[in-house]
């Protein structure tokens, strides 16, 4: 830890506030356009519970919630990109 801890709320609160409102607005936007039924949005909603957790390690658990938990290599890579959430989240 730093010797002289600054006020981390002062440093980070506004940024966190902006990001939280952005997420809320994103969900409203999907509802308005009828696009909320998507496996990636489902995965996000499941990960939201970590934000209310009182236990440290929230970031790692959110990342785990948005991760592929299978263990075997896939047969072949047919695409090169990634989507941010595994297909089998429902």
């Amino acid at each position: 830890m730093a010797d002289n801890d600054p006020n981390l709320v002062d440093l980070g609160f506004l940024d966190a506030r902006i990001k939280l409102i952005d997420i809320a607005a994103f969900l409203d936007r999907l509802d308005r356009h009828g696009q909320a039924d998507d496996y990636r949005v489902d995965a996000l909603r499941k990960a939201f519970s970590e934000l209310n957790s009182q236990e440290a390690g929230r970031a790692a658990r959110v990342l785990d919630a948005l991760s592929d938990h299978t263990e075997e290599p896939i047969e072949a890579a047919v695409i090169q990109g990634a989507f941010g959430a595994p297909l089998k989240t429902r």
Binding site: A59, A60, I74, A76, Q80
Partner: protein
């Protein structure tokens, strides 16, 4: 740095950067032949060091076929066969960035062959881990593949693109962990500093993504500023942005900034 302009070298020099290390990576499209890689290897071993030198920056690089192009084993093996010739170049630190992208069987097979190449030639290894939903699984598969080589010293391997859920997996096995910083995706400076607080400062480095996508060569200096804002002193910052990378890369006799 091949996809950056001289302005970026100028900015890096003004920010106090002494050296850059450039992994062989995907060009944003698949190269059509091994000859394309031959020219690319010439670019990063011969031409790019001269560009960097104009700004008093040492340029180092790593060689491989990136996992995004490893799905075709025939092409990948042709490219791997070119590498030994280039390992003699004075700015080559090792094999990288190898690893996985979509965690496929062919990617894993070519990863194994790269690891063997590094072992056969006594080279350091720089590993790329997959992004987003593929990172957790890919990191575990990569660690297993590396541990299949009992003679390989984990202290000579850096596994890059760690995040909060994979950093402990990497560090617990004795590997180095790299945190690549991006301005708008993946790890931010603040999250990287959080990981230092959670997992410690040993065998960890930060690096700025400087590719053809949205990336910022000054991410590391900006992270240093963030560390200062969070109350860290110069000695701490120096360890993270200078001493640690110099310690890892200094395991290669080619690296001059000891």
């Amino acid at each position: 740095m091949v996809s950056r302009t001289m302005d970026d070298y100028m900015a890096l020099a003004c920010a106090g950067c002494k050296a850059v290390n450039e992994p062989a990576f995907w060009a944003g499209f698949d190269r059509a032949s091994a000859q394309g890689f031959y020219d690319y290897f010439r670019q990063i071993t011969e031409y790019e060091p001269r560009r960097a030198a104009k700004f008093c920056i040492e340029h180092y690089c790593w060689l491989c076929i990136n996992p995004k192009e490893a799905e075709d084993p025939g092409l990948a093996r042709e490219v791997i066969s070119l590498i030994p010739e280039f390992l003699k170049k004075p700015n080559v630190l090792g094999i990288g960035e190898i690893g996985l992208n979509k965690n496929s069987r062919n990617e894993l097979m070519i990863l194994e062959e790269h690891i063997q190449l590094a072992e056969d030639h006594g080279q350091l290894i720089l590993v790329h881990t997959p992004h987003l939903e593929d990172k957790r699984k890919g990191t575990k598969l990569i660690i297993d593949a590396l541990l299949n080589h009992p003679k390989l010293d984990p202290g000579r391997v850096i596994i890059d693109h760690v995040e909060e859920h994979t950093a402990p997996l990497v560090l617990d096995k004795g590997f180095w962990a790299g945190m690549t910083l991006y301005p708008e995706s993946k790890v931010t400076p603040n999250r990287a500093i959080d990981m230092l607080e959670m997992y410690g400062c040993e065998r960890v480095w930060m690096n700025s993504a400087c590719d053809w996508g949205v990336s910022d060569p000054l991410s590391v200096p900006k992270a240093a500023l963030e560390m200062r804002r969070r109350g860290y002193d110069d000695a701490f910052i120096d360890q993270i942005v200078y001493s640690n990378p110099a310690q890892f890369m200094g395991q290669s006799e080619r690296f001059a900034l000891k």
